[in-house]
């Protein structure tokens, strides 16, 4: 991870079937509960054939970071991180993210987003088609 690239979860749309195994794995791993509304990955479908899983792109100049009125979002080692203790759950970041990749959790009341599961992403393990992968991608 450097100023040229960072790791993100990428989805190969041709392989994706929209099953949402990744969605369940994500909320399960983070909250030990099952809830698409509390997942950091979601499936975008343009019926009937265009299907893709979407997560945070760990932007270089994150709109969420800019929007946060209390400075709870910062960048570290290529990851865009939400400092949960500082987050007030106001939702300003949700309004600004162009990828709709950050949400306010109904469980914690805080903004949640992909954190790559500390390097061993659960969504990738859950996908039987290997449509998901953690990849180092240039900005």
């Amino acid at each position: 991870m450097n100023e040229e690239s960072r790791s993100i979860i990428v989805c190969e749309s041709d392989r994706c079937t929209g099953c949402e195994c990744c969605v369940l794995a994500c909320s399960g791993a983070h909250f030990r509960a099952f809830s698409p509304a509390n997942s950091r990955i979601r499936v975008e479908v343009k019926e009937p054939m265009d299907v893709k899983a979407v997560t945070c792109r760990q932007c270089k100049n994150p709109a969420c970071l800019e929007a946060c009125p209390v400075g709870a979002i910062y960048r570290k080692d290529g990851l865009v991180v939400v400092e949960a203790d500082a987050c007030t759950g106001c939702g300003a970041c949700v309004d600004q993210c162009p990828f709709e990749a950050i949400v306010i959790s109904s469980i914690s009341g805080k903004a949640i987003k992909c954190d790559l599961c500390g390097g061993e992403p659960e969504c990738v393990k859950a996908c039987i088609h290997h449509a998901l992968a953690m990849k180092e991608v240039r900005f």
Binding site: T17, A37, P48, I128
Partner: protein
């Protein structure tokens, strides 16, 4: 309670009343959910005097503890009511995402009574439940309806709706969820349409917890293995994953069990033209899935050229290809792809629709009707689908179902109405596959395959049969003999009762035969914390309880052995060709064996002591009071 959302939602469309009731733990422990919960609700509230199309009939949308949580597959739900097609027990299952979303919103089941004054739809968004005006939706097809609702609710919501066929009360109208997934059989769409309910939209932001998260996770990882590698991985991925259920066309042709010409034969000369390869090559576009599944058998099909160019939907599945294909002597695959799309858009059961059309074809062949409906006429098939959905011309008669249509046609038309208890036969034939004949005869919703069909003898799973039935393996495996089939079908009915209450899928349980009772002794406690289910006897008791309760519901309606029968074709007309040439079904010995294992008198009515043993004291008492016992 873990794994459950914890609430039942009661909606009265007549009064507009909305009531949220805590899910009684007693019911969860005794019936689990899904079909079990529906059996208790329907037994309690829907009596013989209740008409299917009435305010008093319940329309239930139910889930089980497994739905919406991380065990594959989790995306199913069941619709139950008294059927307008058969007048008896009906349950109709579907996959997709609608079921889990109900639970995320906070409800394990929605129980609907009454009738709205004008076209309405229900929107459930977590705590908020509203009955809304659907006058702008009435008349729309199921895709249009879905799109209109999602435009209002946002695309994260899920929709289950009826199409025009539910509105015209076609007796086998279905409910379509998640755009293409049918709760197909027994006319649940007509019940919904009569109640002036066009759709249910649901959005849930809640979360579900299970009793043993780490334990369930291990089971899910093991499941992923079972579904993708190992003993069953190939069947799951290379057959179901690559072809959906269409691989069955070849499999049934091989054993002479592909319903052909209104179930007259089991061998179709043009089977290859409508087979799995032909479909994949010409029409298959994109693989899709239900929520949380590791088999993922769904697919989008589209017609690229010719008369039906542009036809696009999900499916067709084996049953649909059979119903409009071999069953109608129609080898025009494009027309079958188109017919599947039409039935999805109109919201009609493809099996019953196809069987009513083949009924008409055979009537015409035998001079019973004048309408020019010939075998293999694909244009006519398509035209009839429109006519049935709109109740135009002969469509109005066919929309009543084959049994009633035969009554109206008169003569010996009843010989060509291939049904049991008013429900048209699904894509199996008892003559080459004896246990399938028994399944059709005894199924609680009519000639249905999904309550007890065995794939073990059908597809020759020798090792599984030896594991499960070591003392009568040869009998069970023998496709064309009657012996041992009562025991087999009873065991399958028990297994699928657990499947249909959890709610897990028939793929992975019926076919391939991956999960069995001992597996559920681990899954159920991990989900719910109900430790009693760690004993396989408790799982089997649950199954038995559900099966007996459903049978008792029908017994109360007057269903007995006289109704557990088969069409004359299966009993009296020897299979004309193929591997099973000359075969008929000898039903009586299979019925006797089945009733013995099922705990019924020889007239098919559940025995009081069996009901009591299953903890159904109130059911036993009521049947006794009504004088329903053994024939003297």
């Amino acid at each position: 309670m873990k794994a459950y959302a914890g609430q039942l939602l009661y909606i009265n469309l007549t009064t507009g009343g909305i009531q949220k009731v805590p899910y009684p733990e007693k019911w969860a422990r005794r019936y689990l959910g899904g079909t079990g919960l529906c059996a208790r609700l329907l037994w309690d509230s829907v009596k013989p005097e209740t008409k299917p199309l009435s305010e008093e009939n319940l329309l239930i949308f139910a889930t089980g503890p497994l739905n919406g949580v991380g065990f594959p597959p989790s995306g199913r739900y069941v619709v139950a009511a008294k059927s307008p097609l058969t007048g008896i027990w009906a349950e109709s299952h579907a996959g997709g995402f609608f079921g889990p979303e109900l639970k995320y919103a906070g409800y394990d089941a929605v129980i609907i009574t009454g009738r709205a004054e004008k076209p309405s739809w229900i929107y459930i968004h977590d705590d908020s439940v509203a009955i809304l005006d659907a006058s702008s939706l009435w008349g729309l097809d199921t895709v249009q309806t879905s799109e209109c609702i999602l435009a209002e609710t946002g695309r994260a919501a899920r929709v289950a709706c009826i199409g025009p066929a539910g509105e015209t009360l076609v007796k086998y109208a279905c409910i379509i969820g998640d755009r293409y997934r049918a709760a197909g059989r027994a006319g649940m769409g007509a019940v919904m349409g009569w109640k002036n309910l066009k759709a249910i939209g649901v959005r849930g932001t809640g979360a579900l917890e299970v009793a043993d998260f780490d334990g369930l996770r291990e089971l899910a990882e093991d499941a992923q293995q079972r579904y993708t590698t190992g003993r069953w991985g190939r069947a799951c991925q290379e057959s179901l994953g690559e072809f959906g259920t269409t691989g069955l066309i070849e499999a049934e042709q091989k054993i002479g069990r592909l319903p052909t010409k209104n179930h007259w034969s089991g061998v179709y000369a043009d089977a290859k033209m409508i087979g799995s390869e032909a479909i994949r090559k010409g029409y298959r576009k994109k693989r899709r899935s239900c929520m949380g599944c590791n088999i993922q058998c769904k697919y989008v099909s589209m017609v690229n050229e010719g008369k039906f160019a542009g036809s696009l939907s999900e499916g067709p599945e084996y049953e649909t290809v059979m119903a409009f294909g071999s069953n109608c002597l129609n080898h025009d695959l494009s027309s079958i792809i188109h017919a599947n799309m039409l039935c999805n858009l109109y919201g009609m059961d493809t099996i019953s629709t196809g069987k009513c059309i083949s009924f008409a074809m055979e009537c015409r062949e035998n001079g019973l009707i004048d309408e020019d409906i010939r075998w293999g006429d694909s244009s006519k098939i398509v035209q009839l689908i429109h006519q049935i959905a709109k109740r135009e011309g002969i469509g109005d008669i066919l929309a009543e179902g084959a049994r009633e249509a035969a009554r109206q046609v008169g003569g010996n038309a009843a010989d060509y109405a291939i049904h049991v208890k008013g429900m048209e036969l699904s894509g199996q034939d008892g003559r080459p596959h004896k246990s399938a004949g028994l399944t059709h005869a005894i199924s609680v919703r009519g000639a249905d395959h999904l309550r007890s069909l065995s794939s073990l003898d059908e597809l020759g799973y020798v090792d599984v049969v030896k594991e499960r039935y070591p003392d009568c393996a040869q009998e069970v495996l023998s496709l064309r003999t009657e012996k041992g089939k009562g025991r087999l079908v009873c065991d399958m009915e028990d297994l699928y009762a657990v499947v249909d209450s959890l709610l897990i899928c028939k793929y992975g349980t019926m076919w391939p035969p991956i999960y069995y009772f001992d597996d559920f002794t681990k899954i159920i406690p991990a989900l719910t914390g109900f430790s009693e289910f760690a004993e396989v006897s408790c799982v089997r008791e649950l199954a038995r309880r559900i099966c007996l309760l459903r049978r008792a519901f029908n017994a109360r309606e007057g269903i007995t052995r006289k109704d557990d029968q088969l069409p004359k074709r299966d009993l009296k007309e020897p299979m004309p060709e193929g591997p099973a040439k000359g075969q008929v079904v000898h039903l009586d010995t299979m019925l006797d064996e089945f009733y013995g294992f099922r705990g019924c008198h020889s007239n098919g009515v559940p025995k009081s002591e069996e009901l009591r043993k299953a903890g159904l004291e109130d059911v036993a008492a009521e049947l006794e009071k009504l004088g329903m016992g053994p024939d003297d």
